[in-house]
Point group: C2
Chain length 168, copies 2
């Protein structure tokens, strides 16, 4: 068992570092859950209302992109961003239709690029910023928003584990 | 939308308070996910390898009890505790056989009692304790352990949402 500790991390203010430790742990469990899946497995639909595991991975990356806008850029997505991300954000019929045919590496690359941008932005901010109400959504603070990004990912990782155990 | 903020909370040291805010938010989403389920729905098995939603709720409480021992009492479970909790911890055939026939309130009461004990213990500890390696499991600290309790709960809440959407 590797060391599992939530602690301040070098390069971040203390509370942001603990949050990054949580985000990183959650992400590793997601990557572990999909390791070795083929394109066909990533596209498989368990039933007519299910999301594919590929769709869920794309969703995880899109949710993170969305919270980058809200917390770092303090703006809503543009119409073009909404168009580009809506299949992954909303899943459902559009997700099943549009998100398919990719190898695992495609999804992993998108997750990696997205996470790198998150970590760069978090390293440039501090613990006061983290817990101040968000300008464009003052009922939230960035600490909740980034916990929620991990939480949504873990929720879907639970579904991915369930779906993977039932692949044909 | 209610205020969603992760912040220090009165009654806890700052980092423990933030952790309690995460645990509480995760728990509320679990309770929301099962609201109104009948005994038959809680017992329903989606397929022969599925856990029931009641079983998953019992599992969430049992995992929390387990980490109370590891982090607060710094000991492994006794043989009697292992016997009492193994169906809920391990789920599978034993869980399907033994955890059934209960109304929602039964599971909610167990979750509430368990959480009350957690919060009382966390209120009596401090941020230094939170991040010190655990005596009986020095690769872990309590901060990771309690984040993991939330993470395991969220993972199973994701499965509960999936299962609930497919009830007959």
């Amino acid at each position: 068992m590797p060391p599992y500790r939530i602690l301040p991390l070098p390069g971040y203010t203390p509370t942001i570092g603990r949050l990054v430790a949580m985000l990183s742990y959650a992400r590793q469990t997601t990557l572990d859950a999909v390791e070795g899946l083929t394109r066909e497995q990533l596209d498989h639909l368990h039933d007519e209302r299910s999301n594919s595991m590929g769709g869920l991975l794309a969703h995880v990356a899109a949710v993170e992109r969305g919270y980058q806008l809200v917390t770092f850029e303090e703006r809503a997505p543009t119409a073009a961003e909404n168009d580009a991300w809506s299949a992954a954000l909303k899943l459902g019929d559009k997700g099943r239709r549009e998100i398919r045919g990719h190898e695992l590496q495609f999804y992993v690359d998108e997750l990696r690029r997205t996470r790198e941008a998150t970590l760069t932005a978090l390293a440039a901010r501090d613990d006061v910023w983290l817990e101040t109400p968000l300008r464009i959504a003052p009922t939230l603070n960035a600490h909740w928003a980034w916990f929620h990004v991990a939480e949504d990912e873990i929720n879907h990782r639970g579904q991915i584990r369930w779906l993977r155990a039932r692949l044909p």
